[in-house]
Amino acid sequence: MTQLDRRRFLLASGVAGGAAVLAGSGVVTWRSLQDAAASRPLPAGQQVLVVLTLYGGNDGLNTLVPYADPAYRSARPELAYPAEKVLKLDSELGLNPALAGFAGLWKAGRLAIVRGVGYPQPDHSHFRSMDIWQTASPAEPVNTGWIGRWLDATGDDPLRALNIGAVLPPLAMGGRASAAALPLGARRTVPAALTRGLTALGTPEPADSASRALVRASYAAEQLVQASLATAGGTPEPGDQESPAGSAGGQGSLADQLAVVARCIGAGVPTRVYSVSQGGFDTHADELDAQQNALGAVDKAVTGFLGAVAATPHGAGVTVLVYSEFGRRVQANASQGTDHGTAGPVFVAGPRVRGGFYGDQPSLTDLADGDLKVTTDFRAVYAELLAKVLGSDPGRVLGPLPGAPIGFL
C-alpha cells in the first residue's frame, strides 16, 4: 500500500471512527491500567491473546527449515542451513538455530506451527500485504483491522485490547472502537501551570476543524498522564544497527514491550488482546546474520515472556501468535539474501496450545512463479484464536469462512 493509501487508511479510521484512534480509545497510562486492574480485574478463566507482528517479511524457509529437501539446498546454495545446524523437529523440518527457546516450547508440546500460511493472489508489497494481514480483507482495502472489528462486536471497555506503543497499527483500529495504546518510555513531571494549560487546551471548541479536534482530544487524554512505565535502554543512535528499508519496527525492543505485557497480565489488567511488534526482517542482502539476530530477539523475548507469566494467575490462559506479512522467494538472490515472497509459517505458542505441525508444508518444486503456494488461509488461524481464546464468533469479525478448524487449540 502506498503512503497515500496508508494515510487515507489512518484518516478514515481516525475521522470516520469518531476520532477513535486517539479519543475514543485514548492513550492510557500505567497508572490507569493499575486502577483498572484493581477495580475490575480480568476475571479468572478469561484468556489472553498476544499478537506479535514481525515487520519486513520474515523468511519462512530459513525459519522453519526443510533441511532434508535437496531442492532447498539447490535453491539457496549460500543461504541454506546445513542439516547439522538446524534444531530438528522431525525428519524433514527444523528450526533456525536462533530459535532454541522455540525448540524447547516444541518439545514441551506448547508450540504449534501452521505451515504455508498466506492468502489468495499474494501481493509482494510490504505495505499492502501487511494491510491484508492486519485487516483480514484480501479482496479489498477496508478501514478496520481484525482486532478492531472484534472490539466493535464485543462491547465498550476500551481496555479490552491494548497496543504497546503510541502509534496504533491497522489491526487495532475498529470502526466504533479502537485499541488503547500504552506508550513506552520514561516521562517527566510537568509544571502545574503547563498541566493546567494543557487541560484547558483539551476542552472542546466548536470552531475546531477535524484535525484540531484530534489535537484537543489527545490533550484531553493527557489529563490522565502523570506516570508511566520507564523502560530500560534508549532509542539507538543512527548508525548503531542496520534496519532494512522495508521493516518498520515497533517502539522499544520486543523484550521491553513484552515485559510491559507481562506486568499487565500479572497485575490483572482487564485486557484480552495485546499487540506488540518487531522489525528487521526485510533481508534482501546478507540474510543469515540479520535474520538470526532478529529471530534470536524474538525467541528470547517470547520464551522469556511465557516464562514470566507462567507463574501468574492468568498465565495458563495466555496464547501468543507470531506472524509476518509474507515469506520470501524460494530462490536466493545474488546478495546472500532473498526477495519478497508469499507463504510462511505462523507460530502459536502457549500453555493451551496443542503442539505440532498444522497445514501442509508447501512444495519447493511445485511453485507459483518462483513462490511457494499457500496451503492454509491466514483467516483460519485468526478464526481459531477468536473462537478458542477470545470466545467470540469468528464470523462476526471475519465473515463466512470456508473449511474446518485447524485444531491447534
Binding site: S125, F127, P191, A193, S211, V215, P238, G239, N333, H340
Partner: protein, 436 residues
C-alpha cells in the same frame, strides 16, 4: 484577542506550507506582495546568506578497518561513523534554522520523505550528504531528472541493495520500491513480472570509491531484452525510469503525494488532481506542480487540515524564538526529533514518515510540551515580554503567525499572560499552532 484579516490568515497558511512555521513580518510581506509574486520569488530564489553560512562540513574517509582488525579498531571506526552521522543531522538542522527563506529546505525535506533513505543502513554520512544535496539541487526541476538521479544515487543503492543487483542474480528491492513508492504507486496494476524485469534493467551499478557517484559496470549489467510495463528492449536504468514515468498513473501519483504534503491530508478529488497534473505538465515540471498546488482553489478550502509534523513544528518554533545554532542546541533538537519520531536521515522505512493524525498521540503531546518549555527557556521571548500583558495574546499570535486563537485557546492562554515563557509554551502546543 483581535483577529487578523482573512487575507492575513490565508497568507500565514501559505507561509507555513512553504517553510517551517511563520512569523508576523513574513506574513505581512506576503499580504503586501500577493501569493503569485511571493511564489515566483520562492521558485527562483536568490542566494541565501543563511545557506552560505552553513556549508556542508567535510566528512573525512573513515579509517579503513581490515578483516582481522581488533575490537578496539572496529569500535573506533564505529564511533567515527556515528559522529559523522550526528554531525550530518546537526548540519541539516542548523541549515533549516539559518536560511532566511526556508522553502528550499522544506521541499528538500519533502523529497527526503518521498525517497526515504535511512542512516541506519546506509551508514555513510558522505553518501547521505550527497543524496541530500542532489535532492536540494533537483527538487524544483523536472521529476525525470530527479528520479533518474535517485536510481543511481550511492545512498539509495546501499539502502535498497541496488549495488547487489547484478546479471548473476537480480535483487528486486530498488525496482519494486521505485515503482510502488517513488514514481508510480501500488494501485497502478503493474505485475510481479514488471518488477523482476525492472530489476534486471537496474543491474550492474557499483558505487565509486568516494561514495558520491556510481558507475555502470557492463559486465555486471544484464544486456538481454527486458519488458517493463509493455516496453521491450535492452532497457537500462534510464529506459526503466522512462517506462515507469510513461504510465498514465505516474504523474497523478507524484502530484497526489505532494498534494498530501502541501495542501491537505484528504486526498484530492479527480478534478483537483487533474489541475495539479496540468501544472506538472508533460515535462514533469516540479516548480509548476508546486505553483499549481499552492495556488489551487482547494488550497483555500483546505484550511486547518495539515498537522505539522515534528520537524516542521520544532524548526518552526525554534526559528520563531531565534534559538541558537551552537552544537549543543542542535544536538538537543535532534534528541527531541528522535523522541517525537521524525529525526532527519532516520525515516522508519522506505515509505517515509507517517503523517497527519499519527503525530497526535498523548505521548507526543507530553514530549512537545517539554520541548516547547525548553525552547522558551533558551529562546528569545522579548517580542512577547515587551508587550503589555493585555497585548500579549496578539503578540504571541504575531510571533508565531497565528492569525486568530479560538475562544478555548484564548481562555487557556489567558492565565499565563503574566508569564511569557508559559504563554509561548502553551501557544506552541495549541491546536491552532499544530494544525494549519
Amino acid at each position: 484577542m483581535s483577529t487578523q484579516s482573512a487575507a492575513w490568515i490565508a497568507a500565514a497558511r501559505l507561509v507555513r506550507r512553504t517553510g517551517f512555521g511563520a512569523s508576523g513580518p513574513a506574513v505581512d510581506a506576503v499580504v503586501r506582495s500577493g501569493p503569485e509574486t511571493y511564489l515566483a520569488g520562492l521558485l527562483a530564489p536568490a542566494a541565501d546568506p543563511g545557506a552560505a553560512a552553513t556549508p556542508l562540513p567535510p566528512f573525512p574517509p573513515l579509517a579503513p578497518v581490515g578483516r582481522n582488525a581488533d575490537r578496539a579498531a572496529r569500535l573506533a571506526r564505529n564511533k567515527q561513523r556515528r559522529e559523522q552521522l550526528q554531525q550530518l543531522t546537526s548540519w541539516w538542522l542548523g541549515r533549516m534554522l539559518s536560511v532566511h527563506q526556508p522553502f528550499t529546505e522544506r521541499i528538500t525535506f519533502g523529497w527526503h520523505d518521498h525517497f526515504a533513505t535511512a542512516a541506519s543502513k546506509v551508514r555513510s554520512a558522505t553518501a547521505l550528504a550527497h543524496q541530500n544535496e542532489t535532492l536540494r539541487r533537483l527538487g524544483t526541476g523536472d521529476f525525470r531528472t530527479l528520479a533518474q538521479a535517485m536510481l543511481v544515487d550511492p545512498a539509495m543503492l546501499i539502502w535498497l541493495d541496488g549495488q547487489k543487483n547484478t546479471v548473476r542474480g537480480a535483487n528486486e528491492n530498488l525496482a519494486r520500491e521505485f515503482m510502488e513508492l517513488f514514481a508510480l504507486g501500488h494501485g497502478d496494476g503493474y505485475t510481479e513480472t514488471d518488477v523482476r524485469e525492472g530489476a534486471r534493467a537496474l543491474t550492474g551499478w557499483r558505487i565509486d570509491a568516494g561514495q558520491v557517484s556510481a558507475t555502470l559496470r557492463p559486465r555486471l549489467h544484464d544486456q538481454t531484452p527486458k519488458t517493463v510495463l509493455g516496453v521491450t528492449g535492452n532497457l537500462d536504468q534510464a529506459g526503466f525510469c522512462d517506462a515507469v514515468l510513461a504510465r498514465p498513473a505516474a504523474a497523478g501519483y507524484v502530484c497526489g503525494r505532494w498534494y498530501g504534503q502541501l495542501v491537505s491530508d484528504t486526498p484530492p478529488d479527480a478534478a483537483t488532481l487533474a489541475r495539479l497534473v496540468a501544472g506538472y505538465g508533460a515535462h514533469r515540471d516540479l516548480a509548476g506542480l508546486f505553483r499549481a498546488a499552492y495556488l489551487d482553489e482547494s488550497f483555500a478550502r483546505a484550511a486547518n487540515s495539515i498537522v505539522a509534523g515534528p520537524v516542521e513544528w520544532l524548526i518552526g518554533a525554534a526559528r520563531a524564538l531565534k534559538v541558537g545554532t551552537d552544537a549543543a542546541t542542535l544536538t538537543r533538537l535532534a534528541g527531541i526529533l528522535r523522541g517525537l519520531g521524525q529525526l532527519p536521515f532516520d525515516p522508519p522505512n522506505v515509505s517515509g514518515w507517517p503523517s497527519g493524525h499519527a503525530w497526535l498521540s498523548t505521548a507526543a503531546a507530553q514530549l512537545r510540551l517539554q520541548a516547547a518549555g525548553w525552547l522558551c527557556r533558551t529562546g528569545d521571548l522579548s517580542f512577547v515580554s515587551a508587550a503589555a500583558p493585555g497585548q500579549r495574546l496578539d503578540a504571541v499570535g504575531y510571533l508565531l503567525g497565528v492569525g486568530t486563537f479560538s475562544d478555548r485557546t484564548a481562555a487557556a492562554l489567558k492565565p499565563a499572560l503574566g508569564n511569557p515563557a508559559t504563554l509561548v509554551t502553551l501557544a506552541l502546543t495549541s491546536p491552532e499552532y499544530l494544525v494549519h
